[in-house]
Each structure stands twice: as C-alpha cells, then as structure tokens.
C-alpha cells in the first residue's frame, strides 16, 4: 500500500547512501543506549543550561517542517502551477522533519518511558502539550496528503475531492506548529532573551528561509541523480521566497538588537553580549555567531542580486549559506543564549559532548533516511509513469 517496494530497488549509489546513514544511526543508537542507562549527564548540559543541542535541533527542524507550506500555499491557493510537481517533495520533507523533531524531543527526555504521560494527563495550560498535539497532527496531515496524492498520481487519476480541504488545513496548521514552538520560549518570565513578541515572527521568517532553501538544494540533487526536473520556474520562485524570508528574518534580528541595546536594560543586553562578544571572560559561541552573521550577509547579496539568484550554481551557494547561517542561529545560539546568563546572573558554558553529537547525527540520519526512501518512492512512481507514457 505504501509503495515501499519501490524503495527496495535502487542503484549502488542509493544503497551506499543508505548504508552510510545506517552506520551513523547505529553509532548514535549505541550512544543513546548509553545515555538511557547512565542518564542525560552524558551530555554537556548542566544545572544552569538544561536545554542544548537536542532541543535546538528540534526548534530548527520545526521550522523546516513548517516550510512545506511555502510550496503548498502558492499552488493550492494562488494556482502557481510551477509548484505542482514539487508539493509532494515538500510534504515528504515535512514528514521527515517532524519525525526528526519528535525524535529529538524523545532523546532529550529524562524519563522517555513515561512520554505517554503527556497524553494520559492532558494539560491545556502547558504549551508543550499543544506542541505535541500540533506536531502529531501535522505529521498525520502530511502523511495522509502525501499518501493520497502519490497514490492518485500513480493510478493516473485525480486525487479524491476530500483531500482538498485537508491540504488547505495543512496551511494554517504549518504556521501553527512553528508559532506554538515559539510560544514554548516566548512566554517564560524568567528568560528575557526569549521573552519577546517578535520571537514567533522571527521563527516563521527563518523557517520560510531555511526550509525552501533546503528544498531547492534537494531538487538540485534529485535532478542530478534521477530524471526528475523540478523546473527552473519552481526553483526560481522558491528562491524568491527564500530571499524575502531571509530579508525579513535579518530585519527582525536587527529590531531585537535595537531594543536590547538602545534600552540598555542589562537583562536584555547581556544575552546578546554573551553570544556576540563574550561575557565575564566566557566567549564559546562568539566565532559561531559571527560566522552566522557573515553567512547571512553573503546569502543576502547572493539572493538579492538577480544575476546571482538566476545563476543556478550561485543559487546553490546562496541556499547553503542561508541554511547554515540559520542553523547556527537557531540550532546553537537561540537555546544557549536563553540560558546564559542564568537567572542569577552567572555565566555558564555549554558545549555538546561526543555522545551528544553522535546521537544528534543519528537523528538527522534517520530523517535523511526517511526522506531518501520517500523521495525514492515518489521519483520511482513518476519515472514509471513517464516510461508508460513514452511506450504509449
């Protein structure tokens, strides 16, 4: 039913790639077993910095998951025909990203065997409860949409009429998953780095930059390794979305800088000072944050100038810089910056340990595995359809 038979035939390159992912997963799984036995003390986390690499990856990937809407919305609401062929790729990317999000939350939990307590004892006043609801719902939505669409495509028919409202529902739902994730942080009175109304808009802007950037890169890769071509119009439209989203994201960031530093309030300033200049002699993230700034600046130049954006090679570079700039921003800076300095004014350093990095890599590998398998299925379906038409 899920057309998985299409995923078990492939070229040597395909199996080598899957083998590599399996190896990364195996190493990470061993490290996770160790973490399960010993406790989260195996990570670099501490009494003062209680969320780190795992939760940061979760936050970044919710953004990537939400960005599927940037393909679905133009196609279904505004008839942007160019996106017709790649909505399925966006939906599979969303499934893969949401799965990674849930895995990152799972590996971060102190008592993961009790995870169902969140469902057994629903707590509507807790944003984490709503996060689970929205992520679970989004996963379900995208799974249904992708399955129904791909099955219809394979049969050569139109998808059933009832799928249209489901697809339309996924659009506000995508916005909601990242808004709820931002709410996890932006409602905490003790963490002034996160206690800003612009956090949710910033999350959405960076999501709509990093997600489509990744999607462009994936389309380029797919074009190399299969006969599927997303089309220049689609990639260029996506590139335009990335451009505007990145401009808005950088603008929002500059707004935060102004409020923090012009007001001069220490509680607001100090987190930025820690991240970008170092505080009380501690500056572990300074080179990373400035790298993120540099990458963002370069990406803006490469994206805004039409001659660069139209060139596919430069576009690849632009997408890479956008992705890594935002990965550092959200995947490193956001979480640690929120915890340092601590509510008691101390500066504590955090750096992930080797097992922590291995587990993180394994979760990413699971995501890429899911993505590879699903893309293989989708592309195989399309290739066999194309072959059939050629024969006819």
């Amino acid at each position: 039913m899920f057309m998985f038979e299409k995923a078990v035939v492939g070229s040597r390159r395909y199996w080598t790639w899957l083998g590599f992912l399996a190896a990364v997963i195996a190493v990470g799984a061993l490290c996770y077993w160790r973490q399960f036995q010993y406790g989260l003390g195996i990570t670099g986390l501490s009494r003062d910095v209680t969320w780190g690499l795992y939760i940061a990856q979760f936050t970044f990937l919710v953004g990537v998951a939400a960005s599927a809407v940037m393909v679905v919305l133009p196609y279904y609401l505004h008839n942007a025909k160019a996106f017709g062929k790649i909505t399925i790729l966006g939906e599979f990317l969303a499934i893969s990203a949401v799965t990674m999000c849930m895995l990152f939350i799972f590996v971060d939990m102190g008592q993961p065997t009790r995870v169902l307590n969140v469902i057994r004892y629903p707590t509507p006043n807790s944003i984490m409860f709503w996060d689970m609801v929205s992520l679970g719902g989004y996963l379900l939505l995208n799974a249904i949409i992708a399955l129904v669409s791909l099955t219809a495509e394979r049969k050569g028919t139109d998808p059933p009429a009832w799928i249209k409202p489901v697809i339309l529902l996924s659009i506000p739902w995508a916005v909601s998953i990242h808004t709820v994730t931002a709410f996890l942080y932006s409602g905490l009175p003790g963490r002034s780095f996160w206690l800003t109304a612009i956090l949710a808009p910033r999350f959405l802007a960076s999501a709509f930059a990093s997600g489509p950037a990744l999607l462009i890169l994936l389309c380029m890769i797919i074009r190399r390794i299969s006969s599927f071509d997303a089309g220049r119009e689609a990639t260029q439209k996506l590139a335009l979305i990335v451009t505007y989203a990145m401009i808005i994201n950088v603008f929002f960031f500059l707004m935060e800088i102004f409020t923090a530093f012009y007001s001069g309030i220490p509680e607001h300033k100090e987190h930025f000072v820690f991240l970008f200049a170092g505080l009380h002699g501690h500056a572990p993230l300074v080179p990373w944050m400035w790298a993120s700034i540099l990458l963002a600046a370069v990406s803006l130049v490469l994206l805004v100038v039409p001659r660069y954006r139209h060139s596919e090679r430069v576009l690849v570079a632009a997408c890479l810089t956008v992705f890594f700039s935002l990965w550092i921003d959200k995947g490193l800076g956001l979480i640690v910056g929120g915890f340092v300095p601590t509510p008691l004014g101390r500066v504590v350093e955090y750096w992930p340990t080797a097992p922590e990095i291995a587990i993180t890599a394994a979760v990413w590998a699971v995501g890429f595995l899911i993505l590879t398998v699903f893309y293989k299925i989708a592309l195989s379906v399309r290739e066999s359809l194309a072959a059939r038409y050629q024969e006819a």
Binding site: G39, R47, G110, R114, G190, L344
Partner: protein, 252 residues
C-alpha cells in the same frame, strides 16, 4: 458484516473523537477533587540574623540530609534544594555600587519560592508539579515527571535541579524513611510537605541556630509571619515578574 474501507475509517474516526472528547472533558474539568484552601504557607527570612552565623550551613545540611539530596562531584550535575546565593545574584535589581558594605556579596538563603502564580506549574505538560489548593505548597510528583525540564526553563529563580545521573550512589548518609529520586526527574524544595503532614516545621527552620527562618500560615492573622510582615519591611525575589513568591526577606 460487510463494510468497506470508508465505512471502517469512519467508525474508527468516530471512536477516536469520542475518546479524545472524554479526555478533553476530564482535563478541562480539572480532574482532581477540589480541596478547600485552609492555609497558605510562607516564610520570612531575617538576613541580618542569618549573617551573624558566618559560614553556617545547618539549614542546607538538615534539608539535604532529610531528603536524600545527593552530593555530586561534577558541579555541572549539582542538585540542591536550598543554598546560599550572593546578594547580587538573589536580588539582581538591588545592590549596585553603593550597597551597604555588609550586604555586598553576602550570602542569601534561596530555595523554591512556592509562588502564588508559579510559571513552572503553568508549563508542566503532565501536571507532575502543581500548586496544592489546600495550603499553597508547589508540589512534585516524581512518579509522573517525564524529565522534559520545561519547569526549569520556566522558573525565574533557578530553584529546580535535574537528576542528570542516578543520584543514589551520591546520597550519604541515606535517610531510609524518605525516598531518593532516580535519574531523569526534576526536584526542588517541597516545603517539607512530609513534615507538615506530621505538624512539624520544615527541616531548615528547625535547624537554624539563629532562628532566622520563620515559617507560618499567611491565613492566620496572628501567625509570626504575619506579624513580621506587618512590622518589618520585606523584599521578595523578582516581584516584577508577577510570580507572587511567598518567601519574604528582611534585609535591614
């Protein structure tokens, strides 16, 4: 009976909806039998009295010993329910360049404030922590905690500790009457609720040689805490955040 796929999915969806509805009704109606509020525990700490006992740690030892709080070698994994924080750390909005000499850097006893509007309770996804209606204690249920550490992120005072490793090897001496915790759960001061239940004051209050800790019921207008709050000026930690902490400090 014969059914098609559509019919089956419809019935299954209806059942799921009914189950979800039941859970929702239970959740929204509170789920716990409501207890009437009979007392409101609070504490008044006289910093001057505490300062007189230089280097004293009797309250910390009494608390940690009674509750099997572990002593971990790695400072990153430290677990503490009560400790002495610097004046500037406990009260970031006080102090400054010209603060009184004896207060500068002086130790202030800090622990869970058992806030009236606790952000930690607001964020807990499983109600593993909650504010008791009958006496205002912010409680912990270590059977339910999933170790997500959202409460630690929410607490503006750093009152909570997470068990990064199994604490048992580091509990010495063990008080067998009180449980330890296990790895992967968050813990904090519970106002000695197990002693309150036996009508005993908290361990720290009992252990203080200077009688600097005064514990009592805010509902009782004749209690010592009410008398102190009426006659002395007190400050609380970060009152501007709206948490309504119930630990009051006499500074002067």
């Amino acid at each position: 009976m014969s059914t098609n796929r559509r019919g089956f999915l419809g019935v299954a969806g209806g059942c799921a909806l009914a189950l979800a509805g039941k859970a929702a009704v239970e959740a929204l109606s509170g789920g716990r039998p409501s207890a009437t509020s009979t007392s409101r525990w609070a504490m008044v700490i006289d910093l001057a009295k505490c300062l007189k006992e230089q280097g004293c740690r009797k309250c910390v030892e009494a608390c940690h010993r009674a509750h099997n709080v572990p002593t971990l070698p790695d400072p990153r994994h430290e677990v503490k329910w009560i400790w002495k924080e610097s004046f500037e750390g406990a009260f970031p909005s006080e102090g400054g360049e010209h603060v009184r000499e004896e207060l500068r850097g002086s130790p202030v006893l800090v622990f869970c404030n058992h806030c009236d509007q606790p952000p930690c309770v607001r964020v807990c996804p499983t109600q593993a922590t909650w504010k008791r209606a009958e006496d205002g204690v912010v409680m912990m249920d270590w059977h339910r905690c999933i170790g997500c550490r959202y409460c630690i992120a929410a607490c503006p005072y750093g009152s909570r500790s997470f068990n990064w490793v199994d604490p048992r090897p580091y509990v010495s001496p063990l008080n067998a009457e009180y449980p330890t915790r296990t790895k992967g759960v968050v813990e904090k001061c519970t106002f000695c609720e197990e002693r309150l239940e036996r009508s005993q004051p908290p361990a720290c209050v009992e252990a203080c040689p200077a009688k600097a800790l005064v514990f009592g019921d805010l509902r009782d207008p004749n209690s010592e805490v009410r008398r102190l709050l009426r006659t002395r000026y007190t400050i609380r930690r970060k009152p501007e955040l709206g948490t309504l902490p119930q630990i009051y400090y006499i500074v002067a």
